[in-house]
Symmetry: C2
Subunit: 371 residues, 2 copies
């Protein structure tokens, strides 16, 4: 969907003539009261659920959660997935033409923030005729968007479901992002972000960036269980510095290679910055409770015990801030082994929590049906 | 010191005509019973203590521990620091000439291991006329060398002091090393490890490698306390993807820049592999207790609560294996905020443990003096 009205950004810049790619699943009811917005994290897209015809490998990134009969049941809810601007799956981003120059934006794409994304999502909802969302749900960076909806659009969101997220990035979180960015920016093929004009892609940097990210998505335990110290080819070490020796190396290289084939380097820089900059407490002198003063939604927070990127303690900070405002909040701390990635996986207790929550939301929409 | 006798390596290769750089502090007593070997970790050298004349910035890397009146008191002990082969501070390494080709070794330097290093150290001790060390001490990778001394040279070591170390690297540890290696190897200036011949240095890769390493040396808490989310220049964000925004970014870039000026890229690959390959339990079917079956030393283990690279649980694995063998073992788990780096810092409780241990060792050497 194209938007002619410019989008003013937190940075002071303005995004002109932008397009948002989105998908919807299920049907909007007559009251337009059953819409659920799903917010994506770093590297995902608007393609939340289902499989594209003729492409059996195109399963949506949260297909285990979203669909007919699934916890977020598309027989009851109208689910919206939207690709955020600055990303690289069809919505206006760095690979698109800059209307001011008629050249690809590249590194000139304006820095975007969670708030900018949520503003764009709010406009999309308006365009779809939805004045109030039944829920906004997201994990990780997606959870930050859900929180921002509750903070800045309190009348337009009834339930906020924020999973495996944090009220801001820690210094360590920023540090990992920064190393990933340096790997990209110092790749000679980066060309200060205008690699498209040079007909190249900074794949080396993207590979390293993804490998770093991937380590932080998995728990130490998962890595130990899945790969341990297993050698890839041999029972005895081959003693090599540049070749693959351990299984974990093979896995990481594969993840890096795959990622470098489909993800845009400037988008990676932008979206890691979206993470870095999110900090709703900042304009309240660091007081997170004050940030939620106007929130009215009901909240479901979920964290995972082995998530060391956004550990449970970060979710508890949010829970405390919500309780300080006497808001309606449920919090589930799931004992799952999979680290940060757990939010994307089909864990029975985790999905049980979400199923119960969405059944509750559905019952609010159609109370007679729930009796 | 030059060694004409070739050093056979675990990999099957042989190191010919090698040189070991070393320094000593204090005096060897008449009985040659007061020698303490200090083993370095990834990026340190034989220069353990003191300052070189005319270079006030040349303080040894463990100067807070080693010196007259310090916990490892050079008025009582003869302390030896040695640079391990494959490193880049004077001992034979990748920047040196390969006697077979008369070209710099570069990537052809053979893969070395903890065992190879300890063999080289044992020969150095022999050359110095020391048949038994009062103690071997090291932190991190240095601790692995101390453990290997106890395992493979049981008659030649009376005390083993292994700090902030592990019985092997976890999959996550290997993963971080591998990403660092990929950053170096995929730097176009790496030239498959023969960058010397091209007159360049793969500084980009070294910078990224060091930044990754540095994150794992510090605790999340230390980073939060030292840098938090502080912006470097401004009170308001500047909104930039490529420039420095947060203090932590400035710090990491500085660490990376410094490192890339003095450390050799091939040495970095080799020494991360020394870490990866250390696994004394491997040849005992994973049974760490069996690995220590022949050990006779007395052990002092130390770990730090916030060390997430080699957390206390890894030291406890070693303690258990030692106790299984009814060995004399003390273990101190120090509540220190500084993460893995704590082993290099002057923490009162930590240094208190080491001071007491060395006083005990000194009393064994000269029991009448201790009365």
């Amino acid at each position: 969907m194209s938007f002619a009205q410019p989008l003013p950004l937190r940075s002071g810049a303005v995004l002109r003539d932008y397009t948002l790619m989105f998908e919807t699943y299920g049907s909007l009811n007559a009251e337009r009261s059953n819409a659920v917005l799903v917010c994506h994290a770093l590297n995902a897209s608007h393609h939340v659920a289902g499989v594209y015809e003729g492409d059996s490998r195109s399963t949506g990134w949260w297909d285990n959660l979203v669909g007919p009969g699934k916890p977020l049941d598309t027989d009851r809810f109208f689910v919206i997935g939207v690709n955020n601007p600055g990303s690289c799956f069809g919505s206006t981003g760095p690979t698109h033409l800059n209307p001011a120059t008629q050249q690809p934006y590249g590194a000139d794409f304006p820095v975007v923030t969670v708030e900018d994304w949520v503003d764009a999502q709010a406009r999309l909802c308006e365009a779809l005729g939805i004045t109030q969302l039944a829920a906004v749900i997201g994990g990780s960076l997606g959870g930050m968007q859900a929180l921002d909806w509750a903070i800045r659009y309190p009348q337009r969101i009834r339930h906020c479901i924020a999973i495996a997220t944090a009220p801001n990035l820690s210094a360590q979180n920023i540090a990992f992002n920064e190393v990933a960015r340096r790997a990209i920016v110092t790749d000679p093929d980066f060309h200060a972000g205008h690699y498209q004009a040079h007909g190249v892609v900074p794949k080396r940097g993207l590979r390293v960036a993804r490998m770093i990210g991937h380590i932080t998505y998995l728990s130490d335990d998962t890595m130990a269980a899945k790969f341990g110290r297993n050698l890839r080819d041999a029972t005895e070490p081959r003693y090599t510095t540049q070749d693959i020796e351990f299984e974990i190396e093979s896995y990481l290289r594969h993840q890096g290679d795959k990622f470098s084939e489909y993800f845009d380097a400037n988008s990676y820089l932008l979206i890691t910055r979206v993470l870095d900059y999110f900090d709703p407490a900042r304009e309240h002198g660091g007081n997170l409770s004050a940030a939620f003063a106007k929130a009215r939604a009901k909240f479901q927070l979920v964290s995972f015990t082995t998530d060391w990127r956004f550990p449970p303690a970060r979710s508890r900070e949010i829970v405390k801030a919500l309780l300080d405002n006497r808001l309606d909040v449920s919090y589930a701390e799931i004992a799952a082994p999979h680290g940060h990635d757990a939010f994307l996986l089909d864990d029975a207790r985790y999905h049980g929590v979400l199923r119960a929550r969405f059944e509750h939301i559905a019952s609010e929409i159609a109370p007679e049906a729930a009796r």
